[in-house]
Symmetry: C2
Subunit: 210 residues, 2 copies
DNA sequence: GTCGAAGTTGAGGAGCCCCTCAGGTTTGAC
DNA sequence: GTCAAACCTGAGGGGCTCCTCAACTTCGAC
């Protein structure tokens, strides 16, 4: 967003947009690890241009999924506006998972970073929204009290892998998995946990290491 | 096990053993996707010999992890011998996860196939043991009644990914994740599930597609 | 100790993907 | 219309891993 660099020439901007659009498609279909000349080919642009515009794969990924940060924020706001705090929490989680299930690239992304973590800047805001969702559900006595924001990573990783595995064979199976997970997060289900939560900087380090 | 092929010459058998031992180490350290000449090098054997003995990577993987089938069976038997059915169930799951956490290769394997599925022959036996563990826990009213053997795949996939992500930073974090999952599997935690269980042949197909 | 079968070796061809850069093209300010 | 800066192009070098195969070595039955 805060590019700061020189404004692009008209043709360059057009190519950039084509590349992002092509990458969006290709990532969604085949995941984040596709060969980049596939993206260039589909954009009708040379591979050199792609590297010109996006020196690293991460730059392209970031451009493709930049809008998701906002989407997640909108989902979070809506979750917070729901009457029932537990419904808000589950709605939030379910919508995120639905996005992952609909886009193999986004699912790949979530497998490494958790959804909010695309650009480090907006990350704080996403984290804060998530904290509010959890807090509210905990204050309502619906979400187990020992659940932390860091534990959300578990939920994401779990569903991520299930979506990957079941996508071809039973594309809605993740809903069952998620329901089983959520049943373990309700306050009355809580039994003492054998292990302290991950530390915020541990989660951060995991994100950083891709 | 039931090779049926001609008996190996003494030097060939020795090389085979060295290869399996080397692969065991390398897989455990670096996962199932390492370059195979790393394995050959560590075994002190040429890459040609490796391919001679194990035409495909899957052959080598199978040889390395063949004994795990038996190990899983032993854990299952022990689980069934425990007084409390729920303890038996959790003990089983936890021991499997412990094995995954201790061996990156085995964790990779579990991410695709569920643990019992190494050779298709013994698979049936593992499945049967698992069914008995679940049945017993359900009959005792401890495990939720709507949980099926196929749902075990969810548990495996979930933990698999968490182990992968946290191994470097917090190698015991998976225990917390597992505890959260298990709390969702207790009978009193059960809420209606939004999606039917996966069909046995769906799970089978997922395994087959690696 | 002979000798044929079994086994081993490792250089190298093939496939894949990454990324660069010298040369050609387009843009837009003047 | 001119021209310098910005941009595009795609062939090709580099790195990695896979896997083969013709020449060589070892085993073990006799």
């Amino acid at each position: 967003m805060a590019t700061g660099s020189a404004p692009l020439r008209k043709d360059a901007r057009r190519n950039r947009e084509r590349l992002v659009a092509a990458a969006r498609e290709v990532f969604a279909e085949r995941g984040l690890d596709v060969a980049l000349d596939e993206v260039a080919r589909r954009a009708g642009v040379s591979i050199g241009t792609l590297y010109n515009r996006f020196p690293t794969r991460a730059d392209l990924v970031e451009a493709v999924f930049a809008d998701r940060v906002e989407a997640v924020a909108r989902i979070a706001e809506h979750a917070l506006s729901m009457d029932d705090a537990w419904d808000g929490f589950t709605h939030f989680v379910e919508q995120i998972c639905r996005m992952q299930a609909a886009d193999r690239g986004y699912n790949d992304l979530a497998a490494r970073r958790i959804p909010q973590a695309v650009p480090t800047a907006a990350q704080a805001h996403g984290y804060q929204l998530m904290t509010r969702i959890l807090d509210r559900a905990q204050r309502a006595g619906a979400l187990r009290a020992d659940f932390t924001v860091e534990d959300m990573a578990f939920v994401t990783w779990a569903i991520t892998r299930t979506i990957e595995a079941t996508a071809e064979v039973n594309p809605t199976a993740w809903r069952r998995h998620l329901a089983l997970i959520l049943d373990g997060l309700r306050a009355p289900a809580a039994h003492p946990l054998p292990e302290p939560p991950m530390l915020p900087d541990q989660v951060a380090r995991i994100m950083r290491d891709c």
